[in-house]
Symmetry: C2
Subunit: 428 residues, 2 copies
């Protein structure tokens, strides 16, 4: 195995090509591999039939040191990957009684009977190691042959991910690969577009030889990754460049690494033992959900209210009816009333609110579709912010959630100042 092995991922499954499901496997494995310096050369998504596997697998196998496949290991008659790849590699399939037993036990535990079509899952190519599947019937396959490695993983992500973490990484470590040290430095930013960010950082980044810079925009966040794939720069040198960028960016710098905006705000509040409640309308629960994706969220997140009509805003959040009639539900006044109401109802230190028109319906000349009002509540005051996003309904929702989390993050950076002012009894 070379120091920098060539690696490809092949995702099998008609369902990926016909749009039933996003290819989360590539995102997951790509992230896992890249963090530890293994580069994915290319990704292929092909149909799960013997002809296409024959047409494309062999080329991947010949051109690379490691090939990872996902999918095609299920019990239905259209899953033929195991058989086809074993035949391409001139390997026989062998029946494993211990796999049959495990599958039967699993069915028994669920109160179901094992069906005959599960029996095909008990066969592995000769010489392969079973990757035990903790959350499903299909075992994975780890095979060393001709100095190369083949890793075959099951399609459902709740089976694939634990298998990768618990079974595959230890086996790759045995082959001398390093899954401890990260291979690049990521700066997560919010507030600048991709080209504005590049222009702003260009004076720092443009003249450095051996530095690889890449950008990625996702719903308002722009990630900047710094690495030196040819080893021209040391880790310390890259960290020093990262620090220069961080200082240049000021509050537009969110964090190093992969934390979500919700996680950053969560850590800010947890450090000072404060609590948060959320009121939202057009984002419909997505803002609350961003917090509850964090394990241990209940330490700071008391709860939220989704108020989709005016009666609910009055009843659940004590929004005065006069605000709704005078200013409407999409207004700075309503965002402020919602956030005040929810923080008082849940007795929390902070509150965050969103109201707006996500589209396609709604909107007024003054507040067209895509208009969002944010509200922020703390012990020392209440603020609101107006934003306008373009795009379709789901995009506007995602952007609004990120904007609200960033609004909270920036306000919390000022926390110590506010706290001091509140303690000495000075109002702003």
């Amino acid at each position: 195995m070379s120091v920098q092995p060539k690696l490809e991922i092949i995702n099998l499954g008609d369902e990926l090509l016909i749009g039933i499901r996003e290819n989360g496997h590539l995102a997951y494995l790509g992230d896992q591999l890249t963090r530890f310096g293994l580069e994915v050369q290319r990704n292929l998504v092909i149909r799960d039939n013997p002809e296409d596997i024959k047409r494309f697998f062999k080329d991947s196998w010949d051109q690379n040191d490691i090939v990872i496949t996902t999918g095609g290991l299920g019990p239905t008659s259209d899953d033929l990957t195991r058989e086809t790849i074993a035949s391409l590699l001139n390997l026989e399939l062998e029946f494993h009684e211990e796999i049959r037993q495990r599958i039967e036990d699993r069915f028994t535990k669920m109160g179901r009977t094992m069906t005959d079509n599960n029996l095909k899952q008990c066969y592995l190519p000769k010489g392969a190691v079973e990757l035990v599947n903790q959350f499903g019937t299909a075992p994975g396959i780890f095979l060393k042959k001709d100095g190369k490695i083949l890793i075959m993983l099951p399609g459902p992500s709740q089976e694939l991910r634990p298998m990768w973490n618990k079974r595959v990484i230890p086996l790759l470590e045995e082959e001398g690969m390093n899954f401890t040290d990260q291979a690049y430095l990521q700066l997560r930013t919010y507030g600048l577009g991709e080209s504005a960010l590049e222009s702003r950082l260009n004076p720092i980044l443009e003249s450095i030889e051996g530095l690889r810079v890449s950008f990625c925009f996702h719903h308002g966040i722009v990630d900047l990754r710094l690495s030196s794939p040819n080893g021209g720069l040391s880790t310390e040198e890259i960290e020093k460049i990262g620090e220069q960028c961080r200082i240049e960016l000021g509050d537009d710098f969110v964090c190093y690494g992969h934390h979500s905006l919700a996680k950053i705000a969560f850590d800010q509040m947890r450090g000072v033992e404060k609590t948060l409640a959320i009121a939202e309308s057009c984002t419909g629960g997505l803002l609350s959900d961003a917090f509850t994706n964090i394990p241990g969220a209940s330490k700071i997140f008391a709860g939220g209210v989704v108020c989709y009509n005016n009666d609910a805003k009055i009843e659940m959040l004590d929004v005065p009816e006069s605000i709704l009639t005078q200013h409407g539900a999409v207004s700075a006044e309503c965002a402020v009333a919602m956030v005040t109401g929810v923080a008082e109802r849940f007795s929390t230190d902070y509150g965050l609110s969103i109201t707006g028109f996500a589209g396609p319906g709604g909107g007024t000349p003054e507040n067209p579709v895509g208009t969002i009002y944010l509200g922020y509540y703390s012990q020392v005051g209440v603020w609101s912010q107006k934003l306008v996003f373009s795009g379709e309904r789901l995009t506007v929702k995602e952007r609004a959630v990120h904007a609200a989390l960033d609004f909270l993050r920036r306000k919390l950076i000022r926390y110590r100042v506010e706290d001091f002012l509140a303690a000495v009894g000075t109002s702003r």
Copy 2:
């Protein structure tokens, strides 16, 4: 152009290979194309650098009738797709003043200044048609050459999707392609695993020549797609087979087509002008969000409460403290109290609740991590259901949301019976 053109999708972008983002473009385009009978032969995800584009694009172009690329059209210096592909096709790039004007107008509208690096977006390969970008700066490209079609789309999905719908489909229709009639019949089911579904439908499906059957499992939903790619079966014959399957499946049949479980429940309630409120804990807003993804949701969805701690359940949902101390927050009793409280607070006809342990923390010997209690409220009574899911936190959340929506759907099927009983004053 042949009747069934060969088509590949190439997604460009390091960010897809290094796991910053899921490949939503493949899912979106795959779905769009498949619905109208265009099959994606294969999908390639490659890095956005001239070497890899040279290595892989030409082969795709040579082997197919239509090639669709996504990404690599941005203004930053690492976006070189336009230049490399034009050179591979021996086409010059031409500057288009009308594109520069559009980009400048866009910046002016947003109160920003156009930066010089946007100028590269004004160049198109000679002979190409501009695909006007309504939501971003990068124009798309539509090019006919040597009897083939090249379609180049921008990376952000809020730009790509409207461009596909409004610009590309009309141009493909001009080439004689049909974007009106759907090419397969999909039955969406819930309640059976993939292999149980196959075993149950096998007596109907196994002996039919020329029928293609495919299954896909996503968070408890199993989709069954019936088609006849070689034209052996007529639309009417496939519909007749679908009807046989629908009858065999009973309440496990959800719908024909692509509707979400939330949309199905929405339609059931909207047809009878009823309203719904939601109370959730471990799913943290995701259940409410499922409804608010439906345009016009406010017609039935009054709102929801996310109660992440016990105080919030008492204060916001009137859950009796004695239930929390005697049975705990994860119990059938609590699910019932939550759903009753939320329906009464929001004054709705129906209520739906979820409480459970999504993991990784929490859980008791009786209710381990993955245990979920659902609650359903209607005018004629309140019901609960216990379920146990395996998998990681986000998986458990997704599965719980689908299970709650399916619980609601099955209860609403019985709506007319309940309504009749309520009207004549009979309790069950």
